[in-house]
């Protein structure tokens, strides 16, 4: 029984030990940051899939700060630089039709604002801002779910091997 309990700990220890220097190793870090999600669609409700997107930062309205394309659902997500104060402008174009929307910092970094346009729906991206989007119970629940997932998986394999 003690061996069975120790196995997952040993497994986790091995994983932790991988932080040593490995030639050409790849390190991936992550951080939670507030993002803005664009939902672009035509005024008949059809999504603007694969449309051209140009994002203009507050400090330079002439040159795009970021370009890209919407996904199949007409969505485009980016993380604005909070250090740049002022309105962000996002232009979406496709086949000779387009629109441009201006999003204020207040709307961008608030939790409860949606800017509703006819063919370019813009809202704050749900679930990406750890500072403001998740309540403490949600954070606890997510953490518990993650831990329980690891424990449950480990127990499953331990029992199977036994």
């Amino acid at each position: 029984m003690r061996g069975k309990l120790l196995s997952p700990l040993i497994f986790l220890s091995i994983l932790s030990a991988q932080s040593g220097a490995i030639a050409h190793g790849v390190r991936i870090t992550h951080q939670v940051a507030p993002a803005l999600e664009i939902q672009a669609r035509y005024d008949n409700g059809e999504n603007m899939a694969n449309a051209q997107v140009a994002v203009y930062a507050p400090n330079d309205p002439l040159e795009p700060w970021l370009t890209g394309t919407t996904d199949a659902a007409g969505r485009f997500v980016f993380i604005p630089d909070r250090a740049l104060d002022g309105n962000w402008e996002i232009q979406v174009r496709q086949a000779g039709h387009g629109n441009i929307v201006s999003v204020s910092p207040e709307a961008m970094f608030a939790t409860s604002d949606t800017i509703n346009l006819s063919d370019l729906l813009v809202g704050t991206s749900p679930g990406l801002d750890s500072d403001t989007k998740y309540t403490p119970p949600q954070m606890v629940l997510m953490g518990a779910s993650g831990v329980w997932g690891f424990v449950g998986t480990a127990l499953f394999f331990i029992r199977r091997r036994g």
Partner: protein, 292 residues
């Protein structure tokens, strides 16, 4: 024990996900209220004359007019003239930016006004021709991100009485129709920021910038290069309904004649297309608004 553990794990994830989703849906943000009130000109502070720049107003019928187009029903249309009468053009520094779809009025912190009525021929020039210069205005620096104008009947000249006159030739197979179509109903358009390859209306102190009144004639005739079910085509009149009204290879008429000759559904398409004709680059405009 094994089965129970697995089921318990799955249940925990499902419950967690459901709880998170529920929390999200409970916080759906409300819609932004429409804007109201208009402030024009008066809020402009007086700048030093050296700070003033030049704002050009241009009109563009795009390649559809200069090069011709193939309608949604296969007519090859070439335009000899596309006269449009532009009046009362105003460029605004709107704050917040004006979006014609969102409703409400333009809230301007400043504006400039081209106080003249001018008929321009959008068909002038070749495919490479620059958009036609309508007027130049001395303007304070800033972001001119909204534009309004009227199309009123011309009071003199060959297009007197019309806001829009289309003169050209439509051909399909062995058939050719010379047409002159006059639109004599006034329109007003309110538009937001220019949408296109380049930004427009950004005027630096002592610099130059331009704004563009753009007309999309594919909204009227459709575009034979696009699928039949493309909204540009489903919403367009095409040329077939007009060809039916031609007599001995000629079609000459105004909106009254077309209203009488076209079916109700075709006339509604024509009306809708004319209302949606005006753009700022690729950005749509709102028609029928009382302008500030």
């Amino acid at each position: 024990m094994k089965r129970r553990t697995v089921l318990l794990s799955v249940a925990m994830f499902v419950l967690g996900a459901a709880a998170l989703l529920g929390c999200r849906q409970g916080k759906q943000p409300p819609l932004m209220e429409p804007k109201s009130d208009i402030a024009v000109d008066s809020a402009f502070s007086q700048a030093e004359s050296s700070q003033l720049g030049t704002l050009e107003i241009r009109a563009n019928g795009e390649d559809f007019v200069r090069r011709g187009l193939v309608s949604k029903d296969g007519w090859r249309i070439k335009f000899e003239h596309v006269y449009v009468n532009l009046s009362d053009i105003k460029a605004y520094q709107a704050d917040p930016p004006f979006d014609p779809f969102a409703g409400g009025d333009i809230q301007a912190v400043g504006a400039v006004h081209l106080n003249q009525s001018l008929t321009v021929d959008l068909a002038l020039g070749d495919e490479e021709a620059a958009p036609i210069l309508v007027g130049q205005l001395a303007a304070q620096p800033g972001r001119y991100n909204a534009l309004t104008w009227k199309m009123l009947p011309a009071d003199r000249g060959p297009t007197a009485g019309s806001v829009l006159t289309l003169v050209g030739l439509a051909e399909r197979a062995e058939r050719a129709i010379r047409f002159t179509i006059k639109v004599n109903q006034p329109y007003t358009y309110a538009c937001g920021d220019f949408v296109g390859d380049q930004r427009k209306g950004i005027l630096k102190p002592g610099g130059n910038a331009d704004l563009e009144v753009t007309f999309h004639f594919d909204h009227l005739f459709g575009n034979g290069e696009l699928p039949a079910d493309d909204p540009v085509n489903t919403d367009a009149l095409g040329f077939d309904p007009l060809a039916v009204l031609a007599d001995d290879g000629r079609l000459q008429g105004d909106l009254g004649m077309l209203k009488e000759g076209l079916s109700v559904s075709h006339y509604l398409l024509l009306e809708s297309a004319l209302s949606g004709l005006a753009h700022v680059g690729e950005g749509h405009c709102k028609e029928g608004e009382a302008l500030p």
